[in-house]
């Protein structure tokens, strides 16, 4: 038996031992630790009236002027967790340029504002296609329409948005965001 073949058998046995340790024992151990924080480990699910309506971490599609609308999504037909992903279109891509132009026109018309007032996150698809957040600027832009459609005071809608707004972690990590599903769940509860 040559040395290489002998080494292969040693390697195979080692691989099997390590597969048990790293591939079964380790993930099960982490699973066990996760049971101490079941809400997080199970996907931060959000319940409304005792019914799971989604995850606070995953964006979902909304259609209709009574809702706070999320960012465009490239995940499947939009916000499909079985097809997460981005458009991957380049910075000079003419198709993307046309899409962004259309989205800006649509947002400006829907909210009744100038084109220049439309924020970047409103017209671009996120990396995951499941982005649960929008910028505070985009949320503020939508508040008057939501108030009008739902017959609520603007201050009430702005209050709901404020409750779902998080600043930068530690004051300087990442960007301030508004959680779209949390806002819409709160709006639904007001009814």
């Amino acid at each position: 038996m040559t040395s290489f073949v002998r080494q292969c058998f040693a390697g195979l046995r080692l691989l099997l031992v390590l597969t048990v340790l790293l591939g079964l024992v380790y993930p099960l151990g982490v699973y066990g630790a996760g049971r101490l924080m079941p809400d997080h480990a199970d996907g931060s699910l959000l319940e409304v009236d005792g019914r799971v309506v989604g995850s606070r971490l995953l964006g979902q599609g909304f259609d209709g002027d009574q809702w706070l609308l999320p960012r465009p999504s490239a995940a499947g037909d939009g916000y499909d967790p079985l097809a997460s992903g981005a458009s991957n279109l380049g910075p000079e891509n003419t198709d993307l340029l046309a899409t962004v132009t259309d989205r800006r026109d649509a947002v400006a018309e829907r909210e009744g504002v100038e084109l220049a007032a439309v924020p970047a996150d409103a017209v671009t698809a996120s990396g995951s296609g499941l982005d649960p957040h929008i910028s505070p600027a985009y949320a503020a832009l939508q508040a008057p329409r939501i108030a009008r459609e739902r017959g609520l005071d603007l201050a009430v809608v702005l209050g709901v948005i404020d409750d779902a707004t998080t600043g930068r972690d530690l004051g300087f990590l990442g960007e301030p965001t508004v959680n779209v599903l949390q806002v819409n769940a709160a709006l639904a509860m007001l009814d």
């Binding site: 981005a86 991957n88 279109l89 993307l96 970047a120 990396g127 972690d169 990590l173």
Partner: protein, 554 residues
């Protein structure tokens, strides 16, 4: 707080954490690999696997062990992927086809983690944890072992022995990677990363639609994906997916995990060769290159140059709102400067300058600071070259750490440096010159399309694994060709490094005289940084000029 100030503080906190941790971690790793006591678990592992842990191996035996272990790993993972539909926890996922399984097996064994498939629709839970996660650990440990063998060849004199691969592999896995990965996994769960074993369950959304709630052993895979500079995501969206990377602070933790071992290994190197200043010089070069990449990518993405970002009012295509341009740029510089390839934003949609720097980062040969182990041995090879060039300039026999750099060493270094560019450029050229291949895979027209091809081959041959993901890589040709690129891009350099180590370990240290160039201090740091840039620049400038540079200027 202005976005720029926040971005600077974010980088500052990261650098502070790395500065704090690299000393104890580097020293700890040196002790792990230098000690001769085995733990009880390790002795049990050696007994079950039938390994003689006391053997001290010559370079050729060490290399054969690396290749044998990697060979059975590829076969094992390939078989696993081919039969997954018959295994428990497969969630009804079909078996992978032969070219796809080949590509994925090679990808995870070579520490590349290039993914032609989407995790959520191609890999069941058992494959993810018992197949892919295991390779995330051991492929990183292989890189560590090779780096340590090279360091020993500088530290030892007059021997032809480099240590024992099996012992280095097991210790790197069980004493370094596993404990840190376990702690990080729990921290990630605290941030919101999922860890359960549920399959997709359909729920009714708030607005009355339906959505599939996904689950899986994500946190346990996520932590080692980053710590081992692997990069293969549980989901297609990788670290952009909120279940992998839910918040801005988990994002910083992920970047920290990517960088912590590569930036600590120079300290390990300094300790093992008995001169910490040598490690400081290496880490200074790595940190300068990384810092420059962070600065340029951050500037480009926050400015939002290019037609689409200008129209949209910011470069947010392919980026998550919670990370923003700054958090995305920092991740991008770190994932391509190491051989990680995880992404929290999609590089294909980056500005021409930002995307171009991620490409250049890989073309430097993954040394800023490079993958686990691979970054250190890559930089040490370049250090040998720098010493040789300096020797030519002053007309002295070049020495590095007392070892003479002669014809054998320079030949091996030259072959090492030529391997990756040859694989990259020939591979990319074949695709670019074949209209059928271009039609099948390239998404964007013009210069950006060439960037997509170059990025794919740079990523594969440097074992990075990130992509300009508009490139459709899941065709039989690309699966096969990129698989070969990953395989040769990983193991040809490893064999050359071990041969170099073998040629150095046997030498007795030469006398250090006033004419010997010191390999620490600012002069050497400048020289080594210059060599890294010149080698990559001379090799890749023509290709880069036709792709991202043309795109940025036109």
């Amino acid at each position: 707080m202005s976005p720029v100030v926040a971005a600077v503080l974010q980088v500052g906190l990261l650098v502070g954490l790395l500065a704090l941790v690299h000393v104890p971690l580097g020293d700890y790793m040196a002790r792990v690999f230098a000690g001769d006591r085995h733990t009880r678990v390790e002795r049990l592992v050696y007994r079950v696997a039938g390994i003689d842990a006391g053997a001290d191996q010559r370079w050729s035996v060490y290399a054969r062990s690396v290749l044998a272990f990697s060979f059975v790993s590829v076969l094992g993972l390939y078989a696993f992927l081919r039969v997954q539909e018959h295994l428990p926890l497969s969630l009804g996922m079909p078996a992978m086809g032969s070219d796809g399984a080949w590509n994925t097996a090679v990808s995870f064994v070579t520490n590349t983690n290039w993914q032609w498939y989407s995790g959520e629709s191609a890999a069941g839970h058992l494959v993810q944890m018992a197949g892919l996660t295991v390779q995330n650990f051991v492929s990183a440990a292989v890189g560590l072992a090779v780096a340590v063998a090279l360091v020993r060849s500088f530290a030892r004199t007059g021997t032809d022995r480099l240590g024992n691969f099996w012992v280095d592999l097991v210790r790197g896995t069980l004493r370094i990677l596993l404990p840190i990965a376990a702690l990080a996994a729990v921290a990630l769960i605290a941030g919101g990363v999922v860890q359960n074993f549920t399959g997709p369950t359909e729920i009714t959304t708030l607005a009355g639609g339906t959505q599939s709630m996904v689950g899986g052993p994500i946190a346990s895979q996520e932590s080692i994906k980053l710590l081992g500079t692997n990069g293969g995501g549980f989901f297609n969206a990788n670290s952009a997916h909120p279940f992998e990377n839910p918040t801005a602070w988990t994002n910083l933790l992920q970047i920290f995990l990517i960088l912590v071992i590569p930036f600590s290994l120079p300290r390990t190197f300094g300790q093992m060769v008995g001169d910490r200043r040598q490690g400081v010089a290496i880490v200074a070069v790595m940190a300068s290159l990384w810092g420059a990449a962070v600065a340029v990518i951050s500037w480009a993405e926050m400015r939002g140059l290019g037609a689409v970002p200008q129209l949209a009012g910011g470069a947010m295509e392919g980026k998550e709102a919670r990370f923003g341009a700054a958090g995305s740029a920092l991740f991008a510089a770190s994932t391509t400067g190491t051989s990680t390839g995880a992404v929290n934003s999609f590089h294909d949609s980056f500005t021409a300058v930002g995307g171009g720097v991620t490409l250049l980062n890989m073309m430097l040969g993954e040394v800023a600071p490079g993958g686990v182990g691979a970054g250190l041995y890559g930089m040490l090879v370049l250090a040998v070259l720098a010493v040789f060039l300096a020797g030519l300039m002053v007309g002295r026999t070049p020495q590095y750490l007392g070892k003479k750099i002669g014809r054998t060493q320079v030949t091996l270094v030259a072959l090492y440096i030529l391997t990756m560019p040859a694989l990259l450029l020939v591979g990319a050229a074949i695709t670019a010159a074949t209209p059928a291949l271009v039609d099948a895979s390239v998404q964007d027209p013009g210069a950006h399309g060439l960037s997509e091809i170059l990025y794919a081959y740079a990523s594969a041959t440097n074992n990075n694994g990130s992509a300009f993901a508009g490139f459709a890589a899941g065709t039989p040709y690309q699966n096969t060709a990129l698989g070969l690129g990953m395989l040769f891009g990983r193991f040809v350099p490893i064999v050359l490094v071990l041969a170099l180590a073998g040629s150095l370990a046997g030498q007795r240290p030469g006398a250090t005289t006033a004419g010997t160039m010191p390999t620490h201090g600012p002069v050497f740091v400048g020289l080594l940084g210059f060599v890294v840039l010149v080698v990559a620049g001379l090799t890749f400038f023509p290709a880069l000029a036709l792709a991202p540079i043309a795109e940025a200027l036109l």
